[in-house]
Amino acid sequence: MRKMKGKVWKFGNNIDTDQIIEAKRVNETNPEKYLMGQTDNKRFLEYYQKQENSIKGHIFIAGENFGCGSSRENALTLMKKVGIAAIVAKSFARIYYRNGVAVGFPLVECDYVDEISQGDIIEIDLNNRKIYNRTKLQEYEIHNIPSFIRQILDAGGIIPYRMKILKGE
């Protein structure tokens, strides 16, 4: 698995799917314009709406229970669409975590997110289970990804994983 390096945007605990993207925007053409619009970090949307392409490769950091609420997958796939590299949180809500596995998007659990500040540059190394904070010159351990989940991620998501088995590969 690859390494990811980028600028940090920080969010709080219990960021729910309606804060990430409101349910009513489901059928809009470019809902990503409102990404994270209802969260505690208002600076993000302001920045993003002004300079639309400049968040590619950035990393979201949050506390407990990120992605709680709805099963709406756009709360995750929009992250992919705008180019967010990864989300690091103390914990993820159940369905959100499953969705990450299903679409092959890196959701990283780490107990030390409070050490990381808004604007820090960090590098995530999934293989060595480490986050390197290039701004503060610190490193933090991340949770292990179970080997079964890795198999799905390595296949490119849950659909290719099942399709491979159906084809008898």
């Binding site: 997958e73 159940r94 659909i159 159906l166």
Partner: protein, 438 residues
Amino acid sequence: MGMTFAEKIIASHCGKEKVVPGEYVSDVKVDIITGSEYTINWAIEALKEYGYEGKIFKNTVPALDHFTPCNTPKSAEICSVVRKFVKKNDLRYLIEVGEGIEHQVLMEKTIVTPGDIQFGADSHTNQSGAISAFGIGAGSTDVASAMISGLIWLRVPETYKIAYYGKLQDFVEPKDLILFTIKKLGVNGANYKAVEFSGPVIRNMETEGRSTMCNMSAEMGAKAGYVPFDHKTEKFVKESAERFNNVTRLYDTEVTSRDFSDLKSDSDAHFSKFIKINVTDIEPQVAYPPSPGNTHPISETEKDRIKVNQVTIGTCTNGGISDLYNAAKILKKYGPKKNDIRVLVSPASVYVYSECLKNGVIQILLENGCVINPPSCGNCIGTHLGVLGPNEIEASTANRNFPGRCGDSTAERYLVNPEVAAATAIAGYICSPERLRK
């Protein structure tokens, strides 16, 4: 050592004698796959993206319930995509526009049955635990993978057993018990866990009340919430199957002749937590925005004198026959509603609607100034059928009050039970029916 209900169901669906919490199981067979028009549409798109053109799991049941009756041409288009998909793949059933909200209809028409593993692209799939099914919420891509294989992966959950005992006070409903529980455990207090609702209060509770509690087990992060199979479940399932002539039957045997007696935890099963809740001192509860866990007892809320612009009674969470009846009872006695408040009623299904027409509940609601919405999720998710403007406030019997959920992002929603909702419509501020008596 014995197994919990969750462990038994998972073991029986993956051909194992025994499974233990924390274990990853790669191939668990599902009995039924569900979702709404837009989450199933995303699943269809995901399959297209990966180039899958093979067979689809027949027991996939989409519901056209979220943006319906359609609020935009786009949602109408999505509904037709789903209809075509159902037809092309000869799927077992489609819950049509206006028929009702998925979670309600699936149980009402015995489309989901006790002991089933239901994998649904909707976070409130947990609701079918009310009839001892194992309802698991998931995202669209995940659900699409089940649609092509009939299989899902699961991490076997630890089980929390929550036992409710004591005597319920006046105007205290299942909604209050679950709001109280979410507050006690926290909004992620049961993340990844199965939650077993038990104790004498649950044993005396009807399926509709159990539905409210299982539905909102999602608000504390639970993988599934359920009530063990008992005579009340048996009666509900039997009557439902007979009423709709079991038309949507999946199994070769009639649902009424299947043996569900083992759908409970063994007496020596291990629960990772056992929580006892004495309901005697519980008042009606009010969850303040921005979260279903931000709950206060009504006596505190009354001091806050929270004036509302709109009241919603119904939704999947509290849109059953008894819920509408309870609200109508208050409105009949103390109504009508206050002039400057809109009161919207969303029955959870057309069956509930029609029963409430027969028993006079709808008439009472209309005479007291309520607007009856068609069964739909629209108002709850803030898309149509009664959304809020800037800075408006709503008291609702729905399950969520996140920012931006009910219309404008500055609008706020308070979660309450149907009797409190009705009392609020009359008094103009959030209060217990107790206040109207004095």
